[in-house]
């Protein structure tokens, strides 16, 4: 930096460490709680050092043991969450790539109309039209199905918009070069645009995977069958007994399990994720 004040650097580190501590504390508490027995937690203050029941709790959770409320096995719920998140991520990326390609690289009647139609969906989450959407899904007999869990959540344009923004940054000369090389639109899409979009795709994948995994309100409505509960719902179901009645150790073990896949995705793909997030801004 441009001045010679080491104390400023120390201050910066101190603030950052404090920030990290505050951000990490809830996660730490979660972890500790997941290593205790239910009784140890209920008798405040709960211990702040890990106990020895981690494996027990995780096994119980995975197998669907106790729990004041639902006792569906977490393993199954994790699978549902995983499939849901994957379908949402992959599906959204696929249809968005195609539509963004159409909008950016073609001129056709109603193009602007389509653009705006897609654009309007940009920030309107499913929550604002939750009732009627539920109705539609029900009418289409998609309750309690992966289709019902996923397709309506694919119906927003964030990804289309992001790809459009990305495509606009692809130099015009590349299209020109490939046209001179004799590439058809689909060849260009496959041979040039797709490979170039790799990072954007990866970034979107992370964002959408987490979006899908973290869904709550929607699955709450469209799943009535325990075997179709995503894990987030499962956790909420576990705590319907009032604060002292829940098997918090199991709940927290489940919470840890539920955080793990999205956290892994974020950490492993951090580089793309950050880029993707920042690109969305454009």
């Amino acid at each position: 930096m441009v001045e010679r004040k080491p104390w400023l650097d120390w201050l910066a580190h101190a603030i950052l460490l404090l920030g990290v501590a505050v951000v990490a504390f809830p996660l730490y508490v979660t972890f500790v709680a997941a290593t205790q027995t239910a009784e140890a937690i209920v008798h405040a203050p709960m211990p702040l050092l890990p106990g020895g029941h981690f494996i027990d709790n995780v096994t119980t959770a995975l197998g669907g043991g106790a729990g004041a409320g639902s006792s569906a096995p977490v393993a199954r719920m994790m699978w549902v969450s995983f499939v849901t998140a994957m379908v949402i991520a992959v599906g959204k990326i696929a249809i968005s790539l195609l539509s963004a390609f159409a909008i950016v690289y073609f001129r056709f009647p109603l193009r602007q109309v389509f653009f705006w139609a897609i654009f309007v969906t940009l920030m309107l989450p499913v929550e604002v039209r939750i009732g009627p959407t539920y109705q539609v899904v029900a009418d289409l007999h998609m309750l309690n199905s992966y289709a019902g869990l996923t397709v309506p959540l694919i119906a927003s344009a964030t990804a289309t918009f992001l790809f459009r923004q990305f495509f606009l940054t692809v130099p015009d000369e590349l299209v020109e070069a490939s046209r001179i090389d004799g590439a058809s639109p689909l060849r260009f899409f496959r041979d040039v645009l797709l490979p170039l979009s790799r990072t954007s795709i990866a970034a979107l994948f992370v964002i959408q995977f987490i979006y899908g995994w973290n869904q709550y309100l929607w699955p709450l409505l469209v799943t009535t069958d325990e075997s179709m509960y995503p894990v987030v719902i499962g956790i909420k179901r576990m705590i319907s007994g009032g604060e002292a009645a829940n098997d918090w150790n199991i709940v927290m073990a489940t919470a840890l399990l539920a955080m793990l896949p999205p956290a892994l995705v974020v950490i492993l793909m951090q580089r793309w994720f950050v880029k993707g997030l920042v690109d969305t801004e454009k």
């Binding site: 130099p171 020109e176 070069a177 490939s178 001179i180 090389d181 041979d191 490979p195």
Partner: protein
């Protein structure tokens, strides 16, 4: 190889009321095997013209023929051309070899032949050891050569270049210029080369097309364009430092500029613009009086900036071996009358 004919070419962007004409009826011929450079200031329509030849822009009016075929309605891929772009437009995710091969692959050429062509081009351009690399692992100059390689393998009738050197640094630019020259000598493919750099135009072209504002100002060999510029525009655009242009009035053997009367050979009388290149004036005992304002040492020569009369700027180019004048000195300038150019005061056209 093929000649290119451009006939009454017009380009408009936009439709209806918002239409904007950027090329105003241009005629030009590029002979078979010729290397022609289009030069002009930014925005004059050079790229537009080139891109119409490539088929990347639609022609609004007029005709473009490559060889015997009018190509107005032919897809770029079918015009048998190759193009080198300013930013090279290499496919970033393909290796050098794949970049070069892509166009051939799309043409369903047998793999063996593709390989052979790529190898040959790589050899010509000394890219052999780079074939497996990705463009981002190459220096600017190497990328440039890959872009040329991609054009060469196609073995097209016409090469089109849109400022292919402007992303290179000065040294590399000179070097690549020489390579392109060599390449053209070897392959002899008809080439149309766009640049806004007059040095590039002068050094590369067999003939130069000077454009300005969507019109052609002059077509000619480098010597013609430099020696007999068709207009003040060409005169000031070609050559560096630019030709001194003195607006004034000729009366008998005198040319009246603001604040002084200069001795000149008699000629057209009245308002006109005189032109004299900086290197065409010499120091002399007597002659045009120049007050020195500033001197720049360039190594082999010095540029002397000064004023003729009250406020007419004049640049003089002196050999560095001559003693340097000082700011404030009065010099006297002599010149060979043959080197004097005269232009119409209104139209700027050569008289």
């Amino acid at each position: 190889m093929a000649a290119i004919s451009i006939r009454k070419l017009v380009k408009r962007y936009g439709h209806g009321a918002k239409a904007q004409q950027v090329i105003h009826g241009v005629d030009a011929e590029v002979h078979d095997g010729e290397f022609v450079v289009i030069v002009g200031p930014s925005g004059c329509g050079k790229s537009t013209l080139l891109r119409m030849v490539a088929g990347l822009e639609e022609v609004s009016e007029g005709e473009i023929a490559i060889g015997p075929r009018v190509v107005n309605d032919i897809e770029p891929a079918d015009r048998d051309i190759a193009m080198v772009f300013q930013n090279y437009a290499l496919y970033p995710h393909m290796s050098v070899a794949e970049n070069m091969a892509y166009g051939l692959k799309l043409r369903k050429m047998p793999k063996a032949e593709i390989d052979e062509r790529v190898q040959r081009a790589a050899k010509i351009l000394e890219l052999g050891h780079l074939l497996a690399r990705k463009p981002r692992e190459l220096s600017g100059g190497q990328r440039q050569r890959v872009a040329m390689g991609r054009a060469i393998v196609r073995d097209p009738q016409v090469f089109l270049f849109d400022e292919p050197l402007s992303n290179l640094d000065a040294k590399l630019r000179v070097q690549t210029r020489l390579e392109i020259q060599k390449l053209h000598r070897e392959l002899g493919v008809t080439s149309l080369f766009v640049t806004h750099d007059q040095v590039e135009a002068m050094t590369l072209a067999q003939r130069i097309i000077v454009m300005n504002g969507g019109r052609i100002e002059q077509i000619g060999t480098p010597e013609e364009v430099y020696g007999q510029p068709a207009s003040t525009f060409v005169a000031s655009f070609i050559g560096s430092p630019a030709m001194n242009l003195l607006p004034g009035r000729q009366q008998g053997g005198q040319f009246h500029i603001d604040g002084a009367a200069l001795d000149v050979p008699p000629g057209v009388e009245g308002e006109l613009t005189l032109g004299l290149r900086p290197e065409h004036a010499q120091l002399a005992e007597r002659g045009w009086p120049l007050r020195v304002e500033m001197i720049e040492m360039l190594g082999a020569e010095r540029l002397v900036y000064g004023k003729l009369g009250a406020a007419t700027p004049f640049t003089l180019r002196l050999d560095a071996t001559l003693p340097s004048p000082q700011a404030g000195d009065w010099l006297h300038l002599a010149f060979n009358p043959l080197h004097l150019h005269r232009f119409d005061a209104q139209t700027g056209l050569r008289l």
